[in-house]
């Protein structure tokens, strides 16, 4: 287990004990944490999905309506809601009789100290902030703040009932 994986497991391991789907994504959409509940719902074991891109498993998440909002959060934006009324679910989780669990998803950024995750990761985040500033039409060579933190997205997906 590398340093990043250890930190993620230490920080999020307790979420293996909640009846809510939770996963953690890195800026490149690699899955860094996949809790027991999601393993159970999706039948995808963590060994199969960790360190792979979530979009490889769920291609619909490559659509701009998802990526643009997720990138905003990596750029320091507020927590984001994906409602069940508009999206039904973010992660397809079969229920029974060809129905899927409905999910009200909240995505939040979690910052970890850069010293915990290494200087290489720090550089990646710095570039991403620069790109986000450019996208907003305000080119700037000055990052918004010093990149002392490494951000991850945490997707929380309560999903207790089924949708045909």
């Amino acid at each position: 287990m590398n340093n990043e994986s250890k930190i993620i497991q230490q920080k999020f391991g307790i979420l293996d004990n909640v009846p809510v789907g939770v996963c953690v994504l890195r800026e490149d959409f690699a899955v860094l944490f996949w809790n027991s509940c999601l393993e159970d719902w999706t039948k995808i074991p963590r060994g199969e999905i960790l360190h792979t891109k979530i979009t490889d498993h769920f291609p619909h998440l490559s659509q701009p309506k998802y990526t643009s909002r997720l990138q905003q959060i990596f750029a320091g934006g507020p927590p984001t809601i994906f409602s069940s009324q508009i999206h039904k679910y973010l992660i397809p989780a079969p229920w029974h009789d060809d129905k899927y669990r409905i999910q009200q998803t909240t995505v939040t950024a979690v910052a970890l100290e850069a010293q915990d995750v290494g200087s290489e990761a720090k550089g990646k985040i710095s570039q991403s902030f620069y790109a986000a500033l450019k996208n907003l039409g305000k080119p700037s060579k000055t990052p918004r703040y010093k990149f002392l933190k490494h951000s991850f997205l945490v997707l929380t997906l309560p999903g207790g009932y089924a949708q045909g």
Binding site: K65, Q72, A75, S84, Q85, Q104, T106, K138
Partner: protein, 218 residues
């Protein structure tokens, strides 16, 4: 830029006066955020949606209450809120009159609403739309002014104007940025209000950041 002058708090008046340039800059920043929100909403629904801010002004808590009372006319409102902290702190609220909320939910989900009561299923839709608009505006403020902000989780409230204002914990000297948002979906006009409530002293930091950016660009 920088024609700021303070007045003692008085009923119905904002405690801070902005210069035209400052107000223009704020309007532009909010418009950038609204543009982002409209673009996201367009990606999500089949019907093209236009989102506009006809006006933006700085008001006192008292004026806000009076303006909202006139608009809402004693009816219930649905509001999505987001607290922010950092260089400046406060609460952002997207407020929908019940009728507009019902129309918006019907347009987005295709579900008919029989009464003015929005049930739990509809709360999700309004929470997401409010979240998109607020995130657009707060994202623009944070990015354009190069200020890092921390955010709470979004929350949803239903009730009267008084319920909303009580939950926002307004002090007399609180400065409020008040913008009316207009959603146009096909032929429907749906209105909502964007309210940015800045904690005491936070608005000064916001104005200082605006002046700094304007100084660079003008």
């Amino acid at each position: 830029m920088g024609g700021k002058s303070y007045k003692p708090p008085a009923s119905g008046e904002a405690t801070v006066k902005l210069s035209l340039e400052q107000l223009d800059a704020l309007q532009e920043i909010v418009n950038i955020g609204i543009g982002q929100a409209a673009s996201i909403l367009n990606q999500m629904i089949d019907s093209p949606i236009r989102l506009q801010i006809p006006y933006l002004k700085v008001v006192s808590p008292k004026t806000l209450e009076q303006e909202l009372e006139v608009q809402i006319n004693g009816n219930f409102i649905s509001a999505v809120g987001l607290k922010f902290a950092g260089s400046f702190a406060g609460t952002a609220q997207m407020v929908f009159p019940t009728e507009s909320a019902a129309l918006l939910v019907t347009m987005l989900t295709g579900e008919e609403i029989g009464s003015n009561d929005l049930d739990a299923v509809k709360i999700g839709t309004l929470s997401e739309v409010g979240n998109i608009v607020i995130n657009g505006v707060m994202g623009a403020i944070s990015n354009v002014l190069e200020q890092h902000l921390d955010y709470s989780l979004p929350n949803y409230t239903e009730g009267t104007i008084q319920t909303l204002l009580k939950s926002s914990d307004l002090a007399t000297k609180t400065v409020i940025l008040f913008a009316q948002a207009s959603f146009t979906i096909e032929t429907l006009q749906i209105k909502g209000d964007i309210i940015l409530i800045f904690n005491v002293n936070s608005f000064d930091t916001l104005l200082a950041a605006i002046n700094k950016i304007a100084g660079k660009n003008l």
